[in-house]
């Protein structure tokens, strides 16, 4: 007799109390025992709402209108209280820190078990077992806030695991992690599913990891379940991906391009190793392109760290003799794992910190003598959380706020606001409350509010976190436009796959040092260095290298060009 499903949704529709349209519409989905189901779809497709419907948070906590029937562990999620459903469904959310509710790692895992009335001896056993499963044994007495982001997310997974539910729901569990920590989480999901028979629902934009982990993918679009299939079926459906703005794995994109160019008839693989194996069926590889020199390296430096070291008051050495400069008009991507010193370097440039040793210069002047507020007219800073930079009731007043200290005349002021709104495509939203906009639009508002000060340098800290592919690209398109106007742009990111169309130069940081300072093409082909620093080389670069040691292609289009018989090598 087949095992009962871990969860089942039948014609579920749901609208939030003030929602203009249903967040879920007629969704029918069954999660089998031990199965891993990926939830994919653009931002706003309803993934989070669906995740919360599995354990009754939707509708019990949020209210709203709920239709259809949802069951977890055989219990109706509307009729049974959430704490009862917690025995059957565990949940892990996107932000690791917001999930921490106690003061030690072991208490964090024990919390749910204590609430469920599990005897202390059994709690002890399960805590040890769960921490071992997520490789956090030995850290039981630590404060959860002392853990890295990746460890915190594994701790959240352990808390769900200890409840021994039949289903664990992960809502964008790796959005804020570097690629290595992200891979660790997905590796654990695979192991736990295989060894314990726990079912998982994973909402994520991480195509490569979902392809490796999920047995099925459910595609959501504006609350509807529009497609369901294996990762191969979904990621090979180019029309579906294009329509729903879903990014396929890099290797799939490359083979889709090969097929379109008539270089192969093989169905596109979804795993890198399958792709590498399938290269044998392609025309022979040959040298392609040469490393391009980064533009602007000879331009006068506008940002410079001169043998800078920085140690935090708790003794953490964040930067160690960093000596780097960025020229006027460059577009630089700053890469590195969490804790590598990227944010510290940015904060030093903004004069939010003072170096322990060395000197920071902005436009050739030591920042030590300059105020943060004065520097703001030279360096515009966009943080990864735009909501912290929004204080005003309308988009227009938000943008104009930045001009208050400049004491401009009304005409100049209005003209600058108009230009900034226009540049970011916000003229139609000028009267809207910024916090009522989508995350992508909120990011645009903040960029406009920075741009209105007309800074020569713009610094973006993880601007694409929490954005889907289209949202991320629309923000990066703005950075490209600013760069083309002659501004210097620095972007900190973990999303390597997005940057080939934008950045020219790459700084790779690790353990407080600049480990590599080179062109994007060379950096992306430094596969060993990237992997050693928790960064995953783009699949196109790996495929190129497998085709020929002198193939420097970076994108599917370049890969295709490198295999065409008369392909000319791009000029340096």
């Amino acid at each position: 007799m087949p095992e009962a499903p871990a969860a089942r949704l039948e014609s579920v529709s749901f609208s939030y109390p003030l929602g203009e349209r249903p967040a879920l519409l007629n969704v029918t989905l069954e999660i089998g025992a031990g199965e891993v189901v990926g939830l994919v779809g653009a931002t706003g497709a309803g993934k989070t709402t669906l995740c919360l419907a599995f354990n009754g948070i939707v509708p019990q906590l949020y209210g709203g209108r709920f239709f259809g029937r949802a069951e977890a562990g055989g219990l109706d999620t509307v009729d049974h209280p959430i704490h009862e459903l917690a025995r059957h469904v565990g949940i892990v959310l996107q932000d690791p820190e917001s999930q921490l509710v106690t003061a030690s790692v072991e208490n964090e895992v024990a919390f749910a078990l204590e609430n469920l009335g599990v005897p202390p001896a059994e709690i002890r056993r399960r805590v040890d077992e769960a921490l071992a499963s997520v490789e956090l044994d030995g850290l039981a007495r630590k404060h959860p806030h002392e853990l890295s982001g990746g460890q915190q997310q594994r701790l959240a997974l352990a808390t769900a695991l200890a409840q021994r539910p039949r289903l664990i729901v992960l809502d964008e569990p790796t959005a804020q992690l570097d690629p290595r920590a992200s891979a660790d989480v997905f590796r654990l999901v695979r192991a736990i599913s295989r060894e314990r028979g726990t079912a998982f629902v994973v909402a994520s934009h991480a195509a490569e990891e979902l392809a490796r982990t999920a047995g099925r993918l459910a595609v959501l679009s504006r609350g509807r379940l529009v497609a369901m299939g294996t990762p191969e079926e979904v990621y090979r459906d180019t029309a579906l991906l294009s329509r729903e703005r879903i990014r396929p794995p890099g290797v799939t994109a490359a083979f889709v391009a090969f097929r379109a160019a008539g270089l192969t008839r093989l169905p596109p693989p979804v795993l890198l190793e399958e792709g590498l194996g399938a290269l044998a069926g392609l025309p022979p590889g040959r040298p392609y392109a040469v490393p391009l020199a980064a533009r602007g390296r000879d331009a006068p430096p506008v940002l410079a760290a001169r043998h800078v070291s920085f140690t935090y008051p708790d003794g953490t050495r964040a930067l160690d003799d960093v000596d780097v400069s960025i020229g006027r008009g460059e577009y630089v991507a700053l890469l590195g794992p969490n804790g590598s010193g990227k944010s510290t370097l940015l904060r030093l440039f903004l004069h939010l910190l003072n170096p322990s040793a060395g000197r920071i210069e902005v436009e050739g002047r030591d920042v030590a003598a300059r105020r943060v507020t004065d520097l703001a007219r030279t360096i515009g800073y966009v943080s990864q959380n735009p909501d912290r930079q929004i204080f005003n009731p309308t988009v227009e007043s938000e943008v104009a706020f930045s001009l208050l200290p400049l004491r401009l005349g009304p005409a100049e002021r209005a003209s600058r606001v108009e230009r900034a709104l226009s540049a970011l495509g916000l003229l139609g939203l000028r009267g809207a409350h910024p916090l009522a906009l989508s995350k992508g639009d909120r990011a645009r508002v903040v960029i406009a509010a920075v741009l209105v000060m007309e800074p020569a340098i713009l610094v973006f800290d993880e601007p694409t976190i929490g954005q889907d592919e289209a949202g991320a690209r629309s923000i990066l398109d703005v950075t490209r436009g600013l760069h083309r106007e002659g501004r210097t742009v620095v972007v900190v990111t973990h999303h390597l796959h997005l940057m080939p169309d934008y950045a020219e130069r790459v700084l790779i940081m690790g353990r407080g040092r600049v480990l590599s300072d080179t062109s994007l093409r060379v950096a992306y082909h430094s596969t060993e260095l990237l992997r050693a620093n928790h960064l995953e080389p783009p699949p196109a670069a790996l495929l190129a290298r497998a085709l020929h040691p002198e193939n420097w292609a970076l994108t599917p289009a370049e890969l295709v060009a490198s295999l065409e018989p008369a392909a000319p090598a791009p000029s340096p």
Binding site: V101, D314, V372, F391, F401
Partner: protein, 289 residues
């Protein structure tokens, strides 16, 4: 990765005590602070409590912030007692009239000619010292206790679990609120807003804008925490178990016994002798009030 926290920064013999023993310390010192009106004793008790806070690893930043926040109120207390507390201080001292320290020029409107008394000044100091002691007892007892042990200790005292958890969650929430406020003020500076360049009204109006993102951020975090708690079976119902049971060890039992004796001694001395009565420094004839 560090997060602002109010928790004590080091483990000490005091922090190792059971929360119920700390509560006994809290009550005993409170009784002494309330019972004693002698400014020397009150100041001594406040100094001892401050010393205990520093020994227990209470953040100096927190202590400094408390001092800065309370300074205007303490000044107000001193002025109030110095200028206006006449009848009560006369009754405490048994004197016929108060000793003037200084008086305001007669030409000043409303307050012209008012006299600031020495007795009122010392009584004001006494009240400030009492307030300081009570203010410092909270971090001493609460911030030296792991929030989980705090919950267990409160539950052992028959406080409903839901209330105990809400209390500790509030303790966790305040540092987050401060952190969020710091982020937003920093974001304003990065938009070129220099508070020091603005007049008072413009400064207040701009800082008021901080409330919007901070409150929204706090509400969002509160909702996230609610989702997490509910998902982990938190309901406050009966039958909850605990990984770490709260047990009174020898040191905790000894502390509770010492506190009981201290309360007895303070009350006995206060009721039957003049020990702790309000007295001016150098005046041995103070009455036992």
């Amino acid at each position: 990765m560090n997060r602002p926290s109010l928790q004590a920064t080091r483990a000490t013999a005091f922090s190792a005590l059971d929360f119920r023993a700390k509560l006994a310390v809290f009550l005993a010192v409170t009784v002494a602070a309330v019972a004693w009106n002698d400014p020397r004793l009150s100041l001594g008790l406040a100094a001892a409590t401050l010393g205990a806070c520093l020994y227990a690893g209470i953040s100096r930043g927190y202590l400094w912030l408390t001092a800065r926040l309370m300074a205007p109120f303490f000044l107000l207390l001193l002025l109030t007692h110095g200028f206006f507390n006449v009848q009560y201080v006369l009754r405490l001292t048994g004197h016929a009239r108060l000793t003037p320290l200084f008086s305001l020029p007669g030409g000043l409107p409303i307050v012209g000619g008012m006299v600031f008394s020495e007795e009122g000044f010392y009584y004001g100091l006494n009240v400030i010292a009492k307030s300081t002691t009570l203010l410092l007892l909270v971090p001493l007892c609460v911030f030296t206790t792991d929030p989980n042990n705090l919950v267990v200790g409160l539950v052992r005292l028959r406080i409903p679990y839901t209330l105990a958890f809400a209390f500790t969650s509030t303790l966790r929430f305040f540092p987050l609120l401060f952190e969020e406020t710091g982020f937003v003020i920093e974001a304003q500076r990065l938009r070129g807003f220099a508070a020091e360049d603005l007049g008072l009204v413009a400064r207040v109006r701009t800082y008021a804008k901080v409330a919007v993102p901070v409150i929204l951020g706090a509400l969002f975090k509160a909702q996230q925490v609610e989702v997490v708690l509910q998902s982990r079976g938190f309901s406050g119902r009966r039958g909850r178990t605990y990984l770490h049971e709260s047990r009174l060890d020898g040191a905790s039992v000894g502390t509770i016994a010492a506190c009981v004796l201290l309360v007895g001694a303070v009350l006995a001395l206060r009721l039957w002798t003049s020990f702790g009565a309000f007295v001016l420094p150098g005046d041995s004839s103070g009455l036992a009030r």
